[in-house]
Point group: D2
Chain length 395, copies 4
């Protein structure tokens, strides 16, 4: 696959490392950057034959088969529209837009143009997520009750993230978009998110956007999702998910505790640790960040689907749903109310209600709980269906 890469910053480089990693048959053939110097440096580092500071030029070259957008949020729409114009398949970094309206325009544009569109939500492609999600789908946890995703760290790498105009928001938009799609995937992507309650604040940083937020997202079937996002966390990159179902639970730690632990006094030569907040004491590196963060499996899915002519797991439609949920979160943070998720376009189930799923013990009783006592007997806690009375019975 021949790729046009738009953006040569942190995320563009991460993508390039993944795209051209292992023994890949894919190649980046053009690179666009707003700064000529950056474009050239990128071209050199990744052996890209053509670099430019003209957006359209990077897209509209015959050898380009797919365009990969790795630009600041406020530049996504322009790039997407150019892909539509030149009828190029397009994949875009997260979040799709700065808000639902922008996302909707992009969704409509690509669908109207009939081009392949992929939403680069890498965190639903991490190897841990893929396996956990398969277990959930296969019923290992029973009915899903709650899914939580947490992403916190000491703040993003580039200046534009901190500027509310370019970014469109703070940590909710930057990190919450991951969390929304992760938890939505566990609960079921065809289950409608209905309302959101969000707390957000700027507790530490000298910025206009929020640097810390927590939200709850209610789904039509009664399941609840939760996100915790922050740019004020100290200790590295904290990336943890949890799911609870009637039959089990899953805990995933994608970064700080993955089975790799190192202590160093820091005296051992010229050693400089990467990315951690310190380079001595106990450190918790991740072996293969690209793979652990889902980039490899994400691009594999994107390009395999593109070759087969089918939609990938994550499309602009998903990006649009995520943006709509985040819009409700932002509104709720202002109004302090549960705000409805406004979804002009919804392609999943509708009209679900919370099922009751009570467990019958016998004709007359519900089972509340069954347990072993200290003294080795089995005890049942039952509820009489008619009287509603709850009582214990030893068996």
């Amino acid at each position: 696959m021949n790729i046009a890469m738009l953006g040569s910053g942190f995320i563009g480089r991460f993508y390039a490392d993944s795209l051209q990693g292992y023994r890949s048959k894919d190649k980046i053939v053009t690179i666009y950057s707003r700064k000529a110097e950056s474009a050239k440096k990128f071209a050199q580092d990744y052996k890209v034959p053509f670099s430019t500071t003209a957006l359209e030029e990077a897209i509209n070259r015959p050898e380009v088969e797919v365009v990969c957008i790795a630009l600041p949020n406020n530049l996504h729409e322009e790039a997407v529209l150019l892909c539509c114009k030149h009828h190029k398949a397009v994949v875009t970094t997260k979040p799709l837009g700065r808000n639902g309206e922008e996302a909707k325009r992009m969704l409509d544009a690509v669908e109207h143009a009939g081009i392949f569109n992929g939403y680069l939500e890498d965190l639903v492609y991490t190897p841990k997520f893929l396996k956990a999600h398969a277990s959930v789908r296969d019923g290992a946890l029973g009915r899903i009750l709650w899914a939580k995703s947490r992403e916190t760290h000491p703040g993003p790498h580039s200046d534009w993230f901190w500027d509310i105009e370019q970014a469109g928001g703070g940590c909710i938009l930057d990190l919450g978009c991951h969390c929304v799609e992760i938890t939505r995937s566990y609960i079921g992507k065809d289950i409608k998110p209905v309302e959101v309650m969000c707390w957000a604040d700027t507790q530490v940083k000298p910025i206009d956007a929020e640097d810390h937020a927590i939200a709850l997202i209610k789904y039509e079937n009664g399941a609840i999702a939760q996100f915790e996002v922050s740019w004020t966390f100290r200790g590295g990159l904290d990336l943890r998910d949890e799911v609870m179902g009637t039959e089990g639970t899953i805990w995933i730690n994608s970064f700080l505790r993955t089975g790799f632990e190192m202590f160093t006094t820091g005296k051992g030569g010229d050693y400089i640790a990467e990315k951690a907040e310190s380079n001595s004491g106990w450190l918790f590196p991740v072996g293969d960040e690209l793979n652990e963060l889902g980039y490899n499996h994400m691009f594999m899915d994107m390009f395999n689907c593109l070759e087969k002519g089918v939609a990938p797991k994550e499309t602009f439609y998903d990006g649009y749903v995520v943006n709509s949920v985040l819009d409700a979160a932002y509104k709720s943070a202002r109004t302090k109310l549960w705000e409805p998720v406004v979804l002009e376009t919804w392609r999943g189930q509708s009209g679900l209600s919370k099922d009751q799923h009570l467990v019958l013990y016998d004709e007359d009783h519900y089972l509340v709980k069954e347990e072993m006592t200290h003294y080795g007997k089995k005890k049942l806690i039952l509820k009489n269906k008619e009287t509603g009375k709850i009582f214990e019975r030893e068996v």
Copy 2:
């Protein structure tokens, strides 16, 4: 210290194990239970000389120096009033009351009677909490931004917990009381909790009360607390706390991951694992539950203070504050609004506002972030104080 124990159930036995454990100089001298059989069994097991089914009789004996209430929630008030009448020191299990009103009446009664009163919130006495709290107090985490406490398990052991009349509520009252006092202690017990947003639902169990709830509690200084409580969790007892400050973070796992891991096929003889949901596969026991859950340090504080004639760390006043926060949580779960915490009596600071605490880089700029780049240079993200513009600078 001579103790009258009221209640011979699960928690009464836990207390007794702790009170008479190690090489203790304290003794239980009377035991009250609603059932004669239970009272006798308890008296036998713990070598208690006097057992009774008459509440007042258990309290009003000359040898009794302190009364320990381990009864269902709806019986606390009666027992407390009898302690007042007979002028006996009293310590009560959590929650203090079924609601703030009840708690307030008990608080007023003990203070009017002038008797020693202790609130048995064991989870702010766990060895891990004590050390973590000391670190927080000493400034290891800087200014506290957020504190979370999670307690979930597959549901309580006795029938009365499941009956909303006796218990006063569901998992919010049963488990949330712990979480509120833990997070409040990290944020500062003199900082006023001002409002609460709570989601609660009955997702699984055939009961009237909630079996799953999540809440946010805002404090006057801008700090935020969070609790996650449930009776629907599968996998054992999940007891985890987290604190975030401007200079660090603390993660505490009090139960399922404490450095003790066992795999067993279950074929090895008559082995029966205690308390876990299964007795084969990977199990995560806790060595000394009594000590890990704070009982030993709690009673040590209570009785040392009683002997010295000073108030213990946790008094009825704290129980009252907790109940008031939970009242707001229950109300919020119904109204779906942020509900104010109503505290008729408040003995901490008042009138605090959210401090700004911005970090100056130089006369003209705030520091947004400082970091090492991939290529080994230090990069600053700064904000111009006047223009508000955010930009990068390499140094």
Copy 3:
């Protein structure tokens, strides 16, 4: 219980904290130290009525009921003999002697004098060990095949440890004594240790004794024990045990990973972390070190047994067995051969042989292994009893 404490150093203080901790009925009534100043300081800190620099004087006072020896290794024997002379119950810190010969003389002396004797091996009294050992005893792991104990840290606190004359050895004697008794307890204290292979070296420190050693200890029933000890470990106190049986495994981490994790930039005020190698970055405190390290349960067992007039779980006999195993380890490190454990006195089983315990599949076959294949079928690997041929069979 009225205690004479001999030694006011690091371990004496640890013992005192435990003995007089919680709501204890035990009291230290005399303190001996080689330095008057230390004795006085200790007396003041722990409210001890009598302090002295005369060993016999500390022991031979009428109020003393039990003597607790917390002295350097080379002073144990003298103190024990004085206890015999004055017929005082005695408990001694680990190791019992500097070698088996010394230990044997002490064992003979206390048994000849008929006094209560306890060996203060705290690490077989940790809450985790107690529960793990109960599981092993109850068969949760099946037949025990291997037990490993690891204790490494950056070196002891006092000068005498580093002096081979006073200490009698290096990290083998200081730390290996723990490991030997832990692993021996898992395998069975009545199973005879028969031979030892040990590697030891002085890799880092400017001392005559070893600062790093690894050993294997073979038991008569075919089980194998292993210890890893070092004074060169960087990263804190590493205290981990593992046991493997035919039906399961146990992993215990007693220090660095016990569910308490803290990150601190170190900027948050005057904070100084205790005992860790650093006071910033990720730290792993232990909540209640005294309890986690077994001191509380150890003294409880010792004094309860003393009151009941029975032998405690760990006696001088156990200390003697441990010293004899360590003697074989030291010898092996020199000779590079498997060295027999010489036990003049052995009170356990004798003449055991390695059992075969083969698992029959049917009349003609042993079961080698049973497993699920990728494609969902059960596969058996069997061995023909007569021909010895091993083959697969799908079922």
Copy 4:
């Protein structure tokens, strides 16, 4: 790259999954299996155009650029010699031979034929290893003192592993080969392994080979390596490495604790867990086994080097060194002596001795240890260079 795959079993399929995974440009073009049915099934599953039961035929086809040997140990040599004959690049699964002699013949053959040769030791290509090794190389741990590798599980999948004739040995050969190369890599592949002490036993399985072994390997520079291998472990696949240096330590857990934890009652539908010993309770899956086990990075290195015409990181020479170390381990298990590693061919450094590396405190003293006391003072433990006396000094 066009690959001939020899062997269609467990490991052949693992290799194929890796080789043709992600967006790979490599393809398997011929498959050989001893059973026609297996060869056909493999060809179908992996879209291989040519399958055969004739070994030479699979190798000697014009489109084949490199041969990948995934056969039982006793068939490696024949396959290697055929590659030499037809002058095909060859990569071979571990261990290279059943013993050093066999390995040496293969090494000599490929070098004489002048063909590219790679040794498929995947576990020195895991992402965690690669990063850890880079840290070690950069000095983060200082001088390496000890490296340990542990691989234990409940036994291999195919019958031939259990047959000492085909396999050449038991768990030492099957698992120890990994451990030897891992620890050797940390210590330095140019440092000579000089002698080995090994304990081995058949504790559980009805086989002639060992099912449990522990060994120590001494290196010329005084560093020590250790392996623990077993086919009797219960609880899954235990894969852990540790390294100690003068300035730090590394702990790697590659399987059972990698940040993915799942509890399931097993009631949630048709769910069947893969590979674990149970399908309910707490399970610890690994997200992307192929990547975590090093296969992807291994083949990337092999084929990139083949294309560039340089030797890969692991060659037949390394396989030969590993076999020679294992030969010494087997001999030691029999003789109960430290056995020399016989290396007819050695291409690293020679004549190293154990350095002393003592740390000077001042002109007259070595520094033994420096530490903070309880009461906040810094204490030094020093050794007088002349007298050898060790003493404490407060500073």
